[in-house]
Symmetry: C2
Subunit: 346 residues, 2 copies
């Protein structure tokens, strides 16, 4: 059994989910993969807690819940952050899970670059750094011979990157389309059943998939960010958010959704990436899909993608976002797959 | 660029597909994965051809086509087989693609064990050895510190094993159900459109997915064998073919299929593996599914599986078997994924 020290930045939904999974499944990770995952440091806006021997996930969750910051946990202190925090964790892997920021990608980008400089591998759960600075991150990873994994940023928990990497070997991806945002799919599903837009938003919030402010979801920004990351990762195309032809779901009415449903169809917010000429294009927008279509059949918090390939035709993968846990699960999935590459895990 | 020598046993559909892909995509494998895949030996019932510097795939295909055996190719000779063949190939990996044999698993099992003994890794495309001697094979692999990959035997080209290994990390698979046989799905689809059973069989043969004798497919043996391998691999259960509650599709009539279609449903041959008490059970049989169901929507030569999981709900993956090439593609997928583990490929 190999110990793997993890430093975690951000202790919102994803970070707390990681702590909860480590608490619940420590023995499972040890038995199945031969590793002991130690949370040796957690930083949030209020400070940080550090212990190279491993923090107690339950204590971190209690401190956050009662005091609003992990600085109140055992091993905690206010003011600790950045490179000093990373150094003191003695971590092998940084899990970057702070809130996504599409303005300057901080604090994610700063933490990621600092971790690579210190010889840490990096698992990203927030999208800002990848959307704004993909090339710089990957170049830094090459230079430091470290790895950056980010399967939680492209429509978690759909295993898009894993499928592309391990299953579509020797296959060319000509296009990709998907429902990569659970919030909008939940809202559209509720509205097709007669709910108003506002009722749909509340249902998505109750299901644990929508933020208090659903703007990034309903206007398509979240799906567009995922399309940018997928375009860069799978199509090696220098896409930016501005390149994505983006339409949200605000203009669709309950009446339109009900009428579509009566005809055996439904509107879905589809993210799409495709090759055109020598370039790659991306779009996000509502599309009318049939109920027996690979994506049209997905309702509520179900999500999925279809790879259009040369040798295998349509390859589809669909999952259900049960809210909260899935992204945390993908973070630990990245940790295990990384540990396998490094020879730490089986 | 690392050279990887491959020995291939069997030169039927799968073996010829491997040769064709190596011929067509040599440059792609080099560029994308940093490896040069050399076919250093091929054996069929008529003899073998060997060249440690790499045989010419086009010459092998020509010899097989014109003379019925690779023994007629450059580097070929009759009578060469078994351990002597393997030794002379100097291969790092055996690709075992002889016809599946559920009686004594030969020649697959003999070749696989001999290759492991010689320090070769093994990629299996035929199911016999896995169905009849799973534990013996895996024990031999452990003892020799070699790997056995077999993603082409569980319903190629559905990436079932890759998904379980890389995507369902930290997730418990509680059950698995799937359409893992393209022939029967094609027959059932044709019959639902009014074709007779015989017409359905011919359509499956024309689509390149059915053998001349479709008995193994239509009586559920092929799907049952896949269920056995999946049960052993993913559920660690000592299943045998006798343990699978098996029903084929011969008793379903065109009238029943048409009636189901009129009601928005269809019969599908479903393989299923599930936990029950402390054990694991498996079945293969026709089931009535709705058209918007993850498996019910699959028609013609489409195939797919649904993992029932604890943390991610239903995880579905569907593909299209385009006949011939897909299994060969999975063999080379296994080679690349193996080469990555060994540090030969990126």
């Amino acid at each position: 059994v190999t110990d793997i020290r993890l430093a975690l930045t951000g202790f919102g939904n994803v970070g707390r989910g990681v702590a909860q999974l480590l608490h619940d499944n420590e023995e499972e990770y040890r038995r199945s993969y031969g590793v002991r995952l130690l949370l040796s440091g957690v930083a949030d806006r209020g400070g940080a807690a550090v212990s190279p021997d491993g923090l107690d996930p339950a204590d971190l969750l209690r401190a956050k819940n009662e005091h609003g910051t992990v600085a109140a946990a055992r091993g905690g202190q206010t003011g600790l952050a950045g490179g000093e925090f990373l150094d003191r964790t003695k971590a092998a892997v940084l899990l970057e899970g702070a809130s996504t920021n599409f303005t300057d990608a901080e604090p994610g980008i700063g933490y990621a670059l600092a971790a690579l400089d210190r010889g840490m591998d990096v698992v990203l759960a927030s999208k800002g750094a990848l959307v704004l600075d993909f090339d710089r991150l990957m170049e830094q990873a090459r230079r430091t011979a470290r790895r950056i994994l980010y399967s939680g940023t492209t429509g978690a928990p759909i295993p898009i990157l894993e499928l592309a990497d391990r299953a579509l070997v020797g296959v060319t991806i000509e296009a990709l389309e998907g429902i990569v945002n659970a919030t909008t799919n939940k809202i559209l599903t509720e509205m097709a059943d007669g709910a108003s837009y506002e009722q749909g938003v509340r249902a998505a919030q109750d299901a644990g998939v929508a933020e208090t402010d659903p703007t990034l979801d309903v206007d398509g920004w979240d799906a567009a960010a995922k399309a940018v990351i997928l375009g860069r990762s799978l199509f090696h195309a220098p896409l930016t958010l501005d390149d994505v032809d983006r339409t949200g779901i605000r203009s669709i009415t309950t009446a339109e959704l009900e009428a579509a449903g009566a005809a055996g169809e439904s509107y879905k917010l589809i993210a799409r990436i495709w090759r055109e000429g020598n370039g790659v294009r991306a779009s996000v927008g509502p599309e009318l899909r049939r109920a027996n279509d690979a994506l049209g059949r997905l309702s509520g918090t179900q999500m999925g993608v279809v790879f259009k390939t040369d040798l295998l035709g349509d390859v589809a993968c669909t999952v259900q976002d049960t809210g909260g846990v899935p992204t945390a699960l993908t973070v630990l999935r990245d940790v295990i797959n990384l540990a396998r590459e490094r020879g730490w895990a089986r």
